[in-house]
């Protein structure tokens, strides 16, 4: 029997979902091997049980918490898709501002009208079996994982830096050109796509496990950032992990 596959979105930009619709040719091949049972952005149908569930977006409200527990109960395998789901991503930047001030600034006297929690990765609430990192999640990475799951194999994981992939691609290092690149501490798997087109890595895939935060901050301040700016740069996609 074909595995039942579902997609769910929480708080995010839906860029990861869109990236999937962008597979085009591969999408059709992939769909032949699975039974797509729920994908609100593209279809009307729903289902009660799933073999493989992909979850995009962060957990940011009490309603999100309830929904993710419910999904976890009904699925065999749960995959976090994209930075928002894997490590809080860009949403977690709101966590580093005092929450009451944030709400008051936006809603004024109605600041408690909409319940909100700090932005959290899916794994902060329920067990996550696999992850596809990146903002947006990278397509080749997703395809590889999806195929591995469908074939019952172990998907790849990456715990080395973007710099490794960047050097393999023989890019000219942007740090030596005075730019502030987070490649030395960011997890690989994107084939160093940004430095490949002349843009510094901004850390969207999260950091490697044994990252040396102090050393990275030193590199950034040497390139001319203030300590505050350097910290904020590290926090762009990683505010959930990098303390203020």
């Amino acid at each position: 029997m074909k595995p039942k596959v579902a997609f769910f979105d929480f708080t995010g930009c839906e860029g990861c979902q869109l990236n999937k619709l962008n597979f085009e040719n591969e999408l059709l091949d992939l769909l032949a091997h699975v039974d797509l049972v729920e994908f609100r952005e593209a279809m009307d149908e729903t289902s009660d049980e799933y073999d493989i569930t992909f979850v995009e977006g962060s957990i940011t409200t009490p309603a999100c918490v309830e929904r993710i527990h419910d999904i976890r109960r009904r699925t065999k395998v749960l995959v976090a898709l994209g930075a928002c789901a894997v490590n809080g991503g860009i949403n977690a930047m709101k966590n580093i501002q005092p929450i009451d001030a944030v709400r008051e600034a936006v809603y004024g006297k109605d600041k408690y009208r909409f319940a909100t929690l700090p932005a959290m990765p899916v794994s902060a609430i329920v067990a996550v079996d696999h992850e596809v990192r990146g903002c947006p999640m990278s397509q080749p990475d997703f395809l590889q994982l999806f195929k591995a799951l469908v074939m019952g194999k172990k998907p790849p994981t990456y715990n080395y830096a973007v710099c490794v992939e960047c050097k393999l691609s023989e890019n000219e290092c942007l740090l030596t050109k005075g730019q502030v690149c987070l490649g030395p501490v960011t997890r690989a798997g994107c084939e160093a796509i940004c430095p490949g087109v002349g843009q510094a890595c901004i850390g969207c895939r999260g950091f490697i496990e044994d990252m040396n935060q102090e050393a990275m901050l030193n590199i950034l301040t040497e390139k001319g950032l203030s300590v505050d700016e350097a910290r904020k740069r590290l926090q762009l996609f990683n505010a959930y992990e990098v303390a203020v």
Partner: protein, 435 residues
């Protein structure tokens, strides 16, 4: 007949983001008819506070994946206006190419994947793979082409990489652009023509419904305004983009985490149909022919025709893209470094016609080049009051249909606007009091 009706569509499908449709009728009197936005607010203002001008576009791009190019380009123009950064002709041409590509990409996604299933009575595009394979393959081919424009010029279709304040980190090569042009000529143009034919065959399924409203878009003397222009209202008048607050007049409503907008009337509409109504004379000739084939006439008051206007824009943008590439190649591509040396620090305002309508960004920078205040007015937010006004006129007109039919009409109406709900709850519009 005094009818009672309760419709509650929880998390409407095939739209971007989370919204509910709520309709209540008691004894034939419509008490409520609106689109309820329930997407969790994202608090982008907290994210932008104190951020460097090099990070603003990276952050605002993440307001919405579907509109990421539009947010990014608008953000860059805003930052450049605020910091007095001049950009080259080449940069503007490359950005225009991106905007055309993004319009094709988004309009195709909406028309084929989200709207056409309604016209064919299918719950999604997936069953159509079996029944209408050539149509689905064509849709995928067109999306691929539009994505390739984005990949080649900006490094990535979702959250582009190379566009930065002052220019691009990488310029596409001559060969890449030549190849792209070749594909638009041999694939893109014929596919756009076929799309018009497909749409014509489905035109009977488009509901007949009219409600005149105010249509707001950019307008430009020399071109069909997408990248730049002045604000234009169908009720008369053009205004500089800097005066946008006098036009958008956002207000908070009870039933939505997204703000609403109104100008001269209770509501106004933005997007492809508004652009068509305001600027149809500046479309290419073949796009205007396509409009005639599809029965779209100037001053069209049927919101369901928004999808048709999108299809016509696809034909236009294909031709435009060819012209832009020819101009770029004719001028000769130059390797340029982005101009990132501010000449002033202050407030900047910019607008772009993104696929769903006119988008405004407005930032104020301090003299370290860090953001102290920001405001974004999003197309979907501007349309929400108009969607509600449409529903309030539509429900009594179709009240004798069955409840599933009424629900279906309402869902189709919401989808016709191609709403982008993630965008509409960005919540950026705030002065930071403590800075």
């Amino acid at each position: 007949m005094k009818k009672n009706l309760d419709i509650n569509v929880h998390h409407i499908t095939r739209v971007e983001g989370h919204g509910n449709i709520i309709v209540n009728m008691r004894d034939g009197v419509l008490e409520k008819a609106h689109l309820n936005i329930v997407e969790p607010p994202r608090f982008f203002e907290a994210m932008l506070k104190g951020r460097s001008f090099t990070e603003a576009a990276i952050i605002t791009s993440r307001i919405c994946g579907i509109c990421s190019l539009g947010h990014q380009i608008t953000s860059l123009k805003t930052t450049e206006a605020a910091l007095g950064l001049e950009v080259s002709e080449q940069t503007i041409l490359l950005r225009k190419l991106l905007v055309n590509g993004a319009t094709i990409q988004s309009n195709i996604l909406h028309a084929y994947f989200l709207a056409v299933p309604d016209f064919l009575d299918a719950p999604s595009v997936f069953p159509l793979i079996a029944t209408n394979k050539d149509v689905v393959l064509r849709a995928l081919r067109m999306k691929r082409l539009a994505n390739d424009i984005a990949d080649i010029v900006s490094g990535r279709a979702v959250h582009p990489i190379t566009p930065v304040p002052g220019g691009f980190t990488r310029i596409p090569s001559r060969d890449e652009l030549l190849h792209l042009k070749e594909r638009i000529v041999t694939e893109g143009l014929p596919d756009a023509v076929e799309t018009v034919e497909t749409m014509k065959a489905l035109a009977d399924a488009i509901p007949q419904f009219e409600r005149e409203t105010e249509y707001i878009s950019l307008t430009h003397d020399d071109e069909y305004a997408l990248y730049d222009g002045d604000i234009c209202s169908s009720d008369g008048g053009t205004f500089p983009v800097e005066d946008y607050l006098n036009v958008t007049n956002e207000f908070v409503v009870e039933h939505s985490t997204s703000k609403h907008a109104r100008n001269k009337r209770e509501a106004y509409m933005v997007g492809a149909l508004a652009r068509w109504n305001n600027n149809y004379t500046r479309l290419t000739e073949s796009a205007r022919d396509a409009a005639e084939t599809l029965g779209l006439k100037p001053q069209c008051y049927n919101p369901y025709m928004n999808t048709v206007a999108q299809v016509i824009e696809v034909a236009h943008c294909m031709e435009e893209s060819i012209c832009i590439i020819e101009e770029l190649l004719g001028r000769g591509l130059k390797a340029e470094k982005p101009n990132q040396i501010p000449t002033r620090y202050g407030r900047g305002i910019a607008a772009t016609e993104v696929p769903r309508g006119i988008l405004f960004h407005d930032y104020t920078y301090d003299n370290r080049g860090q953001i102290v205040a920001a405001n974004c007015v999003i197309p979907t937010g501007q349309n929400l009051a108009n969607v509600d006004a449409d529903m309030q006129k539509l429900v009594p007109e179709i009240v004798n249909k069955t409840k599933p039919e009424i629900t279906h009409h309402l869902e189709m109406l919401v989808r016709a606007y191609d709403p982008c709900i993630s965008c509409s709850v960005h919540i950026l519009d705030v002065e930071f009091k403590d800075s």
